[in-house]
């Protein structure tokens, strides 16, 4: 294993990548040796994925150079990266569920018979079998991918990478969906690849499990390179400090009010099989309650259960002191709960309809007579009023929601719930994809809502946001609430601990 250790296979120097209005990568350097597992660490939004997209040819950097096996290269497309032997396994697999394992491994490079028009399934299956044997994977190459477990599907992705003789393998959160024993066999395969001299970039949040596998780690923060360290010689606390390290800016506006004692929402022993386990918490009037945790920790699932979008298996929910059963979204809204989804474009707005219609969408029943005829004038006045109050920047109310910026779209959704006079608002990633100026406005809006006695739940993957806004923070991991912190006591370090560590 050690004999590869000195040869650097990849050097990325001073990589800079700008997107409109965002500096995604600022002078980042990264190098990878043959036969090492190099962990890439950082919070969500630190720039890890962007850096890997540069390496796999998806994004072309504005500045900086990449040398591969000692030679300067330009990676201008995913194909050019693949041809060099750079393979990436995304968190979301790129597999065709209805095709077999062998067909998936050799997709786009199918074995041909003597006649170029016909497929040679037999030798293709043999080649696939050889790869599967190498990975010690006991499945038939003829199995359909949809029949495989997540761990097996991941192995198929690895087999695909092996089949192109990958020299660099990028794994994005490979263990996110695996069980303990599956992780063990993944690590076995990883070690085997190491011994063959493959350089592995390993993106993960699970610092404790990286100890078993990582040789070095590079930490990124806010698109900048923070440092590369020897994994064994560094403590987890040191790594966390490198990852979060920043002082919270003053972008979080101060709030005038304190939450009252009155409990508006009380959740007891909420369960949804395999997704949520014994969720207990309450929300007070005028409070901002934060839900922190890594992606897939179950935060969105809590929100969807409260909103009636997913059914629950057991649990009690009380609203304003009265026990309620929330069986569907309609009921949740009538009870005074509003949900602002993570995916605004797909689930939050009807992009092809006007600002006016989107603002009023939940309230038309209140703005119509008993024959269902809409009072257009009242609608116009109300949504115009909300547009002014929330400073929604739009040329007019007839503008299609899809033509507005992310920040203004989010304001429309907030306007929709204000219009409905909703008491409890659940924000899922309230500022994702929104630029800094508009973020501030959204924070101010949320504060104003609490001053008016509304109660807010904020789900966010951005720790500074959670720390800057919330009165109280619940941390989730694996469908459970693993920690509760008052905002005075909360730090990024102890949130990360609850979110990542076992037990």
């Amino acid at each position: 294993m050690g004999n590869f250790m000195d040869t650097t296979i990849l050097k990325m120097d001073n990589i800079t990548k700008r997107f409109p209005g965002v500096l995604a990568l600022d002078n980042v350097s990264f190098n990878l040796r043959r036969g090492e597992v190099h962990a890439l660490l950082g919070e969500n939004g630190a720039g890890k994925s962007t850096l890997m997209k540069v390496l796999s040819g998806v994004h072309i950097p504005n500045d900086g150079q990449i040398s591969f096996e000692g030679q300067l290269v330009k990676l201008t497309s995913p194909i050019s990266a693949q041809e060099k032997g750079i393979a990436i396994i995304h968190q979301e697999f790129n597999l065709f569920p209805e095709l077999s394992v062998a067909e998936n491994i050799f997709i786009g490079r199918e074995f041909r018979g003597s006649n170029q028009w016909l497929l040679d399934d037999v030798s293709q299956a043999d080649a696939a079998q050889a790869l599967l044997d190498k990975l010690n994977l006991k499945i038939s190459p003829h199995t359909l991918v949809e029949k495989l477990t997540v761990a097996q599907q991941q192995m198929v992705e690895i087999a695909k990478a092996l089949s192109v003789n990958a020299k660099i393998l990028i794994m994005d959160e490979p263990t996110a969906a695996l069980t303990e024993s599956e992780i063990k066999s993944l690590f076995k395969v990883t070690n085997m690849l190491k011994s063959q001299g493959v350089g592995i970039v390993y993106i993960s949040h699970r610092l404790e499990e990286l100890v078993q596998i990582a040789d070095r780690a590079t930490v990124m923060r806010d698109g900048c390179f923070i440092g590369t360290v020897d994994y064994a010689a560094t403590t987890i606390d040191e790594l966390i400090a490198m990852m979060v390290g920043r002082n919270l800016g003053d972008i979080f506006p101060k709030r005038g009010n304190k939450p009252s004692k009155e409990i508006v929402l009380d959740v007891k022993n909420l369960n949804r099989k395999g997704v949520l386990h014994d969720i207990n918490f309450n929300l007070r009037r005028g409070e901002i309650l934060g839900f922190s945790g890594l992606m897939g920790a179950g935060r969105t699932e809590v929100a969807r259960a409260l909103f009636g979008a997913d059914s629950i298996d057991s649990g009690e929910i009380s609203l304003f002191g009265k026990p309620v059963t929330i069986t569907n979204v309609h009921k949740a809204i009538e009870l005074g709960i509003g949900y602002l989804t993570e995916d605004r474009k797909k689930e939050g707005l009807a992009l092809g309809l006007s600002v006016n219609v989107n603002t009023m969408l939940s309230s038309y029943k209140q703005f119509s007579n008993k024959f269902g005829i809409i009072d257009e004038q009242a609608c116009f006045n109300t949504s115009n009023d909300l547009k002014e109050k929330l400073k929604i920047k739009t040329p007019d109310l007839d503008q299609l929601a899809g033509n507005l910026s992310g920040g203004n779209q989010q304001k429309i959704i907030i306007a929709k719930w204000i219009c409905k006079n909703t008491e409890i608002l659940i924000f899922d990633e309230p500022t994702r994809g929104i630029d800094v100026g508009a973020k501030l406005e959204i924070y101010e809006l949320i504060n104003k809502l609490t001053e008016q006695g509304k109660s807010i739940i904020v789900i966010s993957s951005e720790l500074p946001e959670i720390l800057g806004m919330c009165d109280r923070i619940l941390v989730m991991r694996g469908g459970r609430i693993t920690g509760e912190l008052e905002s005075e006591r909360a730090t990024q370090e102890n949130i990360m601990k609850y979110a990542t560590l076992e037990g």
Partner: protein, 326 residues
């Protein structure tokens, strides 16, 4: 140099106009088509011929209005042709057991309504894609028509007044079906534009997820559009039956596609969320005038079919161009 700049601005103005032009493309095409036929044949532009066109358009037009609702929710209904024949069969069966005329008419409309409810049920409760659900209905209902009538037409000798429904004329001038068409169009446009359910129809078509998470009962909206479309198809069926003065189990084959074509020509998007009743009426009139005009000019039935196909594709192509220009 100077003339160059001038040319450039003129060109820009023309471009801006072009966008507006494309938006009004269906209406402009209709007018151009009328001008073309007015010049092309001396028999086209007179009141009695235009009223004939309106009469011929009414049946397809009423169904097209119904299916506009469905298409705006991003659904489709392929069963219209069979269902309208079913409605005629229902009128005939009601007549054959001697029910009073108004009940016969009601039976026809109700037959269409029930088929629509069934489509709606299949699409919402059974979660079958609308294309498949209504394709199945199209085939089965056609079969049921033949089973119920033994494949023979049902006549209305005992109901001499029945034919008045479609063959009568107001002030001895305007055919009744044209009046039904106009009234139904006005009511439907009003529902779509001014009522809560109308607004929900657009919302469901524009984003089903967003509509659901806004508390709109998406299934109720879908149920409404399919049953409404069925009801209008039933009404169209009664009118056609009265015009033919018989319930024909095999009538209306391919009418669903003509109705859908009219909706598409009128600028409604098959992807949902976009469309108007006004557009659909223009679309139906374009098809009606094209048929009528080509007939008057002595173009064969076969070439007429070719022309219709070209119009549908051209209409959608224009729409794609308009979107690209944005």
């Amino acid at each position: 140099m100077l003339s160059n700049t001038k040319k450039l601005t003129v060109k820009k103005d023309f471009f801006l106009n072009k966008e507006l032009l494309m938006k009004l493309a269906p209406l402009i095409s209709l007018v151009l088509l009328m001008i073309f036929f007015s010049i092309g044949t001396p028999y086209f532009l007179n009141l009695s011929n235009l009223l004939t066109v309106a009469l011929q358009t009414a049946v397809i037009g009423i169904m097209a209005i119904g299916v506009t609702y469905v298409i705006i929710t991003a659904g489709i209904d392929l069963s219209l042709g069979s269902v309208m024949a079913f409605s005629g069969v229902a009128v005939g069966l009601a007549a054959s057991i001697g029910l009073p005329l108004w009940l016969c008419v009601l039976a026809g409309a109700l037959a269409g309504f029930l088929c629509g409810c069934l489509s709606g049920f299949l699409v919402t409760r059974a979660a079958i894609p609308p294309f498949i659900a209504t394709l199945g209905l199209m085939m089965s209902v056609r079969g049921i028509n033949l089973v119920l009538t033994d494949g023979r037409a049902l006549y209305f000798q005992d109901y001499p007044t029945f034919r008045v429904i479609a063959q009568g004329r107001l002030f001895d001038l305007i055919p009744y079906p044209v009046i039904y068409f106009a009234v139904i169009a006005l009511i439907s446009a009003y529902i779509l534009k001014r009522t809560v359910i109308g607004r929900y129809i657009y919302a469901v078509g524009s984003s089903e997820d967003a509509a659901h998470l806004s508390g709109i009962k998406v299934n109720q909206v879908k149920m409404f559009v399919y049953s409404f479309c069925g009801l209008l198809t039933g009404v169209a069926g009664v009118i056609l039956t009265s015009r033919l003065n018989s319930g024909q189990p095999t009538v209306g084959v391919g009418y669903e596609l003509e109705a859908i074509a009219a909706v598409i020509i009128g600028g409604t998007s098959l992807m949902g969320g976009i469309g108007t009743i006004g557009g659909t009426i223009i679309g139906a009139l374009i098809m009606g005038i094209l048929k009528n005009g080509l007939n008057l000019m002595g173009v064969s039935q076969f070439w007429q079919m070719v022309a219709m196909g070209i119009v549908v594709v051209a209409a959608v192509y224009l729409d794609t161009l308009r979107k690209k220009m944005k």
